[in-house]
Symmetry: C2
Subunit: 224 residues, 2 copies
């Protein structure tokens, strides 16, 4: 099995995370690196979605990944093995989210000179990560069908800060009471501008649409 | 639609939550109330599991429920409508967990004199609720099949503090790569004493076993 770099993230000392996040975005702009912050509940399929998406993008742009987890490095290894791109593991040591300074600690361990798109897979949690700006250029989240279409009602902040909501595991829709139309309506109650993309990461269905959306964000950001 | 009492939970001022949790357990013991703290990811089926379980227990013991959520009161209403028991909603106002003092604020709004078993449905989150003792007599968690059998590796603390792990949505096992044996092994790595109970809350399969486990805990606690 491949080895990956594992970074033990230290707690931030900065008082003003908003300010630090803006600073990080500025630094990333200068380096020509687009940062995507990907969030979701545990087990919604973040890693599988990333693998499918990266394999569609890696010939067009240079992608690196940071996998945040409380413990274990299985996700970073999975990404590296399945895509061949640079993938590192961030250990949060029990912390339930990443802020801008913690994200910077991860970025410092990536080869940014060879990166157009850096993806942060945040800790699996719909509550705390939504409260901390990581310095990302865009926020994405994955909601999987088994979790239910009512989640935007229960986790309002998460849905309000995301630019795109990927609805994963649509292949199992027949076995769950999941109403995609109602879910989209609830998401737009929280954030009228959010893009909603239904996919099945396991089969690859719909992943082209998400990959295309992401590529456009990276290009728009580089050219503006 | 039924109305339910909604309590806006205030942030705790106590410095020592461990001590306060022990105090709450003592208070509950004196009142003859057993408190169960039920945790899980968003969308794992906590509310459906509770409805099925309560309907099996309510003729044997008196049950009350506190539904903690960041926002919305849909769960407390669902429980009340489906079981007829006392059910109140706790709003955490964005907070990602409950501690002992916050739990006490909820308990103060239940009719404890008519309660043998009070159930706290904690905020949907596998990280933060695990760090705060609520004063409960036992901790339970639900892991649903679509989340994957590797979750005990990724959220070690949650699995180590739970007395029982209910594996929900076993009806969809054929559509997911979920290895029940491996999952049980991982759970026991974290906590060798944890009871593992596979169920399907939708069809009721296995719920008798969980209801029986819970009834035994309540009786043991009352008699010791």
């Amino acid at each position: 099995m491949d080895k990956v770099k594992v970074i033990e993230i230290k707690k931030s000392v900065f008082a003003d995370n908003e300010q630090d996040a803006d600073l990080l975005r500025k630094e990333l702009k200068e380096k020509g690196v687009f940062l995507l912050n990907l969030m979701s509940s545990p087990g919604s399929g973040k890693t599988t979605t990333l693998i499918q998406t990266i394999n569609r993008l890696k010939d067009k742009i240079r992608v690196s990944v940071m996998e945040a987890d409380i413990d274990s490095d299985v996700d970073a290894i999975k990404i590296k093995e399945a895509t061949g791109i640079e993938s590192i593991q961030l250990h949060t040591g029990g912390m339930c989210h990443l802020d801008a300074e913690m994200t910077r600690q991860g970025l410092d361990n990536l080869t940014l000179a060879d990166t157009d798109l850096a993806i942060l897979e945040n800790v699996g949690n719909l509550v705390c990560p939504a409260e901390f700006d990581t310095g990302s250029c865009k926020n994405a989240m994955i909601l999987s069908v088994p979790e239910g279409h009512d989640k935007p009602l229960k986790y309002p902040l998460m849905f309000s800060i995301c630019d795109v909501v990927v609805i994963n595991k649509i292949d199992v829709m027949p076995y769950f009471d999941f109403d995609l139309e109602k879910c989209t309506e609830y998401i737009h109650m929280r954030n009228p501008k959010a893009t909603v993309i239904p996919i099945c990461a396991k089969t690859g269905e719909g992943v082209d649409v998400f990959a295309q959306w992401l590529l456009e964000q990276v290009n728009d950001w580089k050219n503006n």
